[in-house]
């Protein structure tokens, strides 16, 4: 179970990236499936070629930034529908990821990675590692909280909330979307690099369906823990990610086939999206948040 919590905390970084696009920019970004693997591929190949794990992980963040930037350019300058722009980048990245890795799977087992110190000290799977991963996830959360309250961050929030209004105050909403997509995918790439190091390999298929895990973390987390303020909403995303991994773990322990996990994830997300629309659940107070997170802006009235 501690492994599930650890994974949840690492994946929380990806979920925070998804939060930036899906909630803040109101843009469902599918680039994530590709940029996650890109991050893992870049970090792995660099570690194998003797770069320090820290430099490699930062490079993975940079690679994610570029991936998101491309989706942003396609959407704003190319005027391509947002979903399609994400899909195009994601598909193109599949080939690029193979080019980066050279083959479909890169083992990191004998390499020195960011996780090695924890593993060597026998701390993986203990309360200590949970603390370490929590601190890292929370650090990312606080950076996002801080960023969203700067002048640029406010403009980015408004871009997702009321585009015409923020343009009338001199903000290029195109630029905000590109920046948001780049940051979001940078975090996703960073997360990919960490997961590759954690599990000891990078794989070409490791990002498939990941957007669902991200969306599930955001939607479920905010439904349960609320989203009234940014600081609460981002914490809810981190907790949502942990919860999601724990639920998956429980499902596996109950004897479900690991191959069915994507189907189960999809059903979970659909349930979280549809249930709050039913009258019966509307009446249950605690689910009001879920309804709000479902209908988007919420207090638009």
């Amino acid at each position: 179970m501690i492994v599930a919590v650890e994974l949840g905390l690492i994946y929380a970084i990806m979920a925070l990236g998804v939060y930036l696009t899906f909630r803040i920019l109101n843009f469902p970004d599918l680039t994530v499936d590709g940029s996650f693997t890109t991050g893992a591929a870049v970090a792995s190949i660099m570690i194998i070629n003797g770069f320090s794990p820290v430099v490699s992980t930062i490079a993975a963040f940079g690679a994610g930034l570029v991936a998101g930037w491309i989706t942003g350019i396609l959407h704003t300058k190319g005027k391509i529908n947002g979903l399609l722009a994400g899909i195009l980048t994601m598909i193109a990245l599949y080939s690029i990821n193979l080019r980066i890795m050279g083959r479909a799977n890169l083992p990191l087992l004998r390499e020195e990675t960011l996780i090695t110190p924890l593993r060597d000290a026998g701390l993986l799977g203990t309360a200590m590692s949970v603390v370490v991963f929590s601190l890292f996830a929370l650090a990312v959360k606080f950076v996002i909280d801080w960023f969203l309250h700067t002048d640029v961050g406010l403009a980015m929030q408004a871009t997702g909330d009321n585009e015409e209004m923020i343009r009338s105050f001199g903000v290029s909403t195109d630029r905000m979307k590109i920046l948001g997509l780049a940051l979001s995918n940078g975090l996703v790439g960073l997360c990919g690099a960490l997961i590759a190091q954690y599990q000891g390999f990078a794989d070409i298929g490791m990002g498939i369906g990941l957007i669902l895990a991200g969306l599930a973390s955001v939607i479920i987390g905010q439904a349960i823990f609320g989203s009234r303020l940014i600081i609460i909403a981002s914490l809810a995303v981190v907790l949502g990610s942990v919860l999601y991994r724990v639920v998956i773990q429980l499902a596996l322990q109950a004897g479900l086939n690991p191959n069915d996990m994507k189907l189960i994830s999809a059903v979970l997300v659909v349930t979280a999206l549809v249930l709050p629309q039913w009258k019966f659940f509307k009446r249950i107070g605690g689910l009001a948040n879920m309804r709000k997170s479902l209908t988007g802006a919420g207090a638009k009235g």
């Binding site: 700067t150 002048d151 909330d161 903000v171 638009k300």
Partner: protein, 263 residues
């Protein structure tokens, strides 16, 4: 301050829906002038406003603000010169963000936004002072989300946000039309006050003739893409709604005659 020269605008050019919105419009506003624009639907009032704000670009002609040629600039690039209030009370503010965050975004109009904190103590005090002038008690609700405010409150806030950073031009697009009469009165009173206080060069589109006569220092009437009446302060004071209606009838009749003649 604002010079619109020989502006022509056609929508859907070359299609069956082709519609000429503006025909060789020339309009100049001196600094501090407050012009109200009236006219029937499709007269081109909103198009004039949108050409000025940059939401639309003219087919021919130029737009200059304070000597700067802005004809080719996008709306957000002109925003440093222009404050805008929209017809829809929901359009001028961001509902999911707080009052102080909304004001902070407006405060940074046209400036380069950096990574400094969006709302600072100093700004907050300034916002509180400004909000007091609205007399709506909003100065005590800085951290409330704007989506929780009523339409009238949101529109008053939009007006404040559009003006407190002293834009060169203030554009008001039927900004009281969606409000109930009481709120509309409040917002028009605030408009007169704020334009007076900041000496703003203002272009206001309205459907309400009484309002068009009461507010501002100059009135223009548009019809089918042309400016057909342009009266200054003196004459405006003597004009009544009846006179304007009469003027409207005359033009409409005239237009009808022309068309009948052609057939």
């Amino acid at each position: 301050m604002l010079d619109i020269t020989n502006v022509h605008k056609t929508f859907f050019a070359g299609t069956v829906n082709e519609r000429v919105a503006l025909k060789e419009i020339n309009l100049s506003l001196t600094p501090g002038e407050f012009v109200t624009v009236i006219g029937s639907n499709g007269a081109g009032k909103s198009t004039v406003l949108n050409i000025t704000s940059g939401k639309l670009r003219p087919d021919t002609g130029s737009v200059r603000i304070d000597g700067n040629d802005v004809t080719k600039l996008a709306d957000h690039q002109r925003a440093k010169f222009i404050g805008r209030v929209f017809q829809d009370p929901m359009a001028g503010t961001s509902p999911d963000m707080t009052i102080e965050q909304n004001m902070s975004m407006a405060y940074e109009r046209g400036k380069t936004r950096g990574l400094g904190p969006g709302v600072t103590k100093k700004k907050r005090e300034f916002f509180q002072e400004e909000l007091k002038s609205l007399e709506l008690g909003l100065e005590n609700r800085l951290k409330a989300k704007v989506g929780l405010l009523s339409g009238g409150q949101r529109q008053a806030l939009s007006l404040l946000m559009a003006t407190f950073s002293s834009p060169k031009i203030l554009l008001l697009d039927e900004h009281t039309a969606a409000l109930d009469p009481q709120r509309a009165d409040l917002v028009s009173r605030l408009t007169a006050e704020v334009v007076e206080r900041h000496q703003l060069t203002t272009l206001m589109v309205t459907h309400n003739m009484e309002q068009a006569l009461r507010l501002g220092s100059r009135l223009i009437m548009m019809h089918e893409g042309r400016i057909i009446l342009d009266i200054g302060q003196e004459q405006k004071r003597k004009t009544t709604v009846q006179d304007l209606l009469h003027e409207f009838e005359k033009i409409k009749g005239g237009a009808l005659d022309d068309r009948t003649m052609l057939q």
